[in-house]
């Protein structure tokens, strides 16, 4: 790769640590904090953690390595990058990757807006003026406020991207990621020192042999890795475009994977300790009642974070000031996690537009405008958000498949020795990688997509109906439209992306 092409490269991440912090910002999102705890509770606590660790090694890390390597070597967004790696006939796969992450950006900006609103509510004390947190949430989510906060989120994300890689992405993530970790550590220490917190920790780490043998627990663990590490989304690929040639790939990728899951573990222990400690006094049903509170999804899976935790924060201490401090700290951390992921989605879409000949400024304005307009349905109607989350959440697994396919097409061993272990690599990775990316990842994709789609047939009697929120029909309908268009215009996409990245005289 790379022959005949050169970089239209003006900016790089200033150091290895800047790159790692920014990329960790992609990986650590709301999924680490609110989805992880809910899924652990739904899948038998400790029984879930063992497959979750295994899939970190055989899904997340190999795909993060692949994304770093493709981005660094091609210096292009996914359309051009996959065309160069897999061949010109497969540029549409890159377009799919960009489309899926951008479609997620539309509603993720809405979710980021919720975090801003709840942070403001917690910091102002407004969140504690009610005991009816479900009503509070329903009143907020059914009104026009989510639209305003969606606008604020996408506006500031675009502003960060407008300032560029070093002054925008790097500065923002250098501020937000350490702050997020410090807040999480403070919350962690407080949570594990609460009376009865040990019950939560016990549940969190105790495996049940019957549950661990359930194949659904394994598939949920794989799904959690696929959705919360950012592996296979194309976002890491977009940041890798800006890594210096001397930067390593495999060690940095391992740091992102393990760093991401470390944050999940920290957040999980914190939430389980808090919930067990503060709700045990209220719930006559004992452990089962507590587990029900953690695992219940609520509207658009918001139950634990936006409905139950605010209630628990009011019971943290007698002091309103301390409760306010911890609640606002939690929602600020959640906002930092969401925002640092949102900016990477805006960057991916922007970078793709740049590959298609747009100036950076024009591309950002267009993406922000599009992001705001196409996020409106999700801001105003939770059913629409749930539909998009379902359709493109499963779509992400296909994105991972396309990345793996492009490497198989290029030659797995050649890719490993020439690209991953090439110039700048600190650690040379062995032949295990050929097996992981060439065989294990494709098997996991096939199993996971089949499982989700077959399961979705059972959720809905009209499983074929493309206009229902969560079923088989809506996925196939929306995927078919998007894939057909990209396959039809593949020649144009590839030609434009590659031509715009050619530099005269190279």
């Amino acid at each position: 790769m790379g022959r005949g092409f050169s970089l239209k490269q003006e900016e790089f991440f200033s150091s290895r640590w800047a790159l790692i912090i920014a990329t960790l910002g992609i990986a650590v999102g709301t999924g680490n904090i609110w989805r992880f705890s809910r899924v652990v509770a739904q899948n038998g606590g400790g029984s879930f953690l063992i497959p979750w660790v295994i899939f970190l090694l055989i899904w997340s890390v190999p795909l993060i390595i692949a994304e770093f390597a493709i981005g660094k070597s091609t210096r292009m967004g996914p359309v051009g990058a996959l065309a160069k790696t897999a061949g010109n006939r497969f540029g549409w796969m890159g377009a799919w990757i960009v489309f899926v992450s951008t479609a997620i950006m539309f509603y993720y900006s809405v979710v980021t807006g919720w975090c801003i609103r709840y942070f403001i509510s917690a910091a102002s004390g407004n969140l504690f003026n009610t005991n009816e947190h479900l009503t509070y949430w329903n009143e907020f989510s059914s009104g026009y406020e989510p639209l305003l906060f969606h606008f604020i989120a996408i506006f500031f994300a675009a502003l960060v991207i407008l300032r560029g890689v070093t002054k925008g992405i790097e500065k923002t993530t250098k501020l937000m990621m350490p702050s997020l970790l410090i807040i999480l550590l403070i919350l962690f220490v407080r949570a594990v020192t609460l009376p009865n917190a040990i019950d939560g920790i016990k549940y969190f780490f105790t495996p049940d042999i019957d549950v661990i043998l359930d194949y659904k627990v394994w598939l949920n663990a794989l799904t959690q890795n696929a959705w919360d590490t950012g592996a296979g989304w194309g976002l890491i690929l977009a940041y890798a475009i800006y890594m210096k040639k001397k930067e390593d790939i495999s060690l940095n990728a391992a740091l992102i994977g393990f760093g991401n899951n470390s944050v999940s573990l920290l957040a999980g222990i914190t939430i389980f300790s808090t919930v067990f400690a503060l709700s045990s006094a209220d719930l006559s049903a004992g452990q089962a009642g507590v587990m029900q509170q953690i695992s219940q999804s609520g509207p658009a899976n918001t139950g634990l974070t936006f409905i139950y935790l605010p209630l628990l924060f009011t019971k943290l201490s007698e002091s309103n000031f301390i409760n306010t401090l911890f609640a606002s700290g939690f929602f600020l951390a959640l906002f930092f996690a969401a925002f640092t992921s949102l900016i990477s989605m805006v960057e991916l879409a922007t970078r793709t537009m740049i590959d298609f000949g747009y100036g950076r400024q024009r591309a950002i304005v267009l993406i922000a405008l599009l992001g705001f307009i196409l996020g409106i349905p999700s801001a105003l109607d939770l059913r629409f958000l749930v539909n998009q989350d379902w359709v493109w959440g499963v779509g992400l697994i296909l994105s991972g498949a396309f990345i793996s396919f492009s490497i198989i097409k290029y030659g797995v061993d050649k890719f490993r020795t020439e690209v991953i272990n090439g110039y700048g690599s600190d650690v040379k990775i062995g032949k295990w990688y050929n097996f992981a990316i060439g065989i294990l990842v494709p098997i996991q994709v096939i199993v996971l997509i089949s499982w989700w789609l077959v399961s979705s047939i059972g959720w809905d009697t009209e499983w074929w109906n493309p206009f229902h929120a969560e079923n088989f029909g809506t996925v196939i309908f929306q995927w078919t439209i998007v894939l057909s268009i990209f396959i039809m215009v593949n020649k144009f996409l590839v030609k434009t992306a590659l031509n715009n990245n050619k530099v005269e005289g190279v």
């Binding site: 290895r16 790692i20 400790g46 953690l49 063992i50 660790v53 970190l56 040990i198 920790i201 016990k202 780490f205 105790t206 495996p207 210096k244 001397k246 390593d248 060690l251 940095n252 391992a254 740091l255 393990f258 760093g259 899951n261 470390s262 573990l265 600190d426 650690v427």
Partner: protein, 40 residues
């Protein structure tokens, strides 16, 4: 706390947090070498 809970905790936290610390140490080591060699 039962033995199986402690073992699971050690395995999970050991691999995830231990792994993170292991890779961080390696990254610091290689970064130092690169800086010594004046690589840009």
């Amino acid at each position: 706390m039962s033995l199986i809970t402690i073992v699971t905790m050690l395995i999970v936290a050991g691999i995830v947090w231990g792994g993170l610390l292991f890779f961080l140490r390696k990254a610091f080591k290689y970064e130092k070498i690169k800086q010594k060699n004046g690589e840009e």
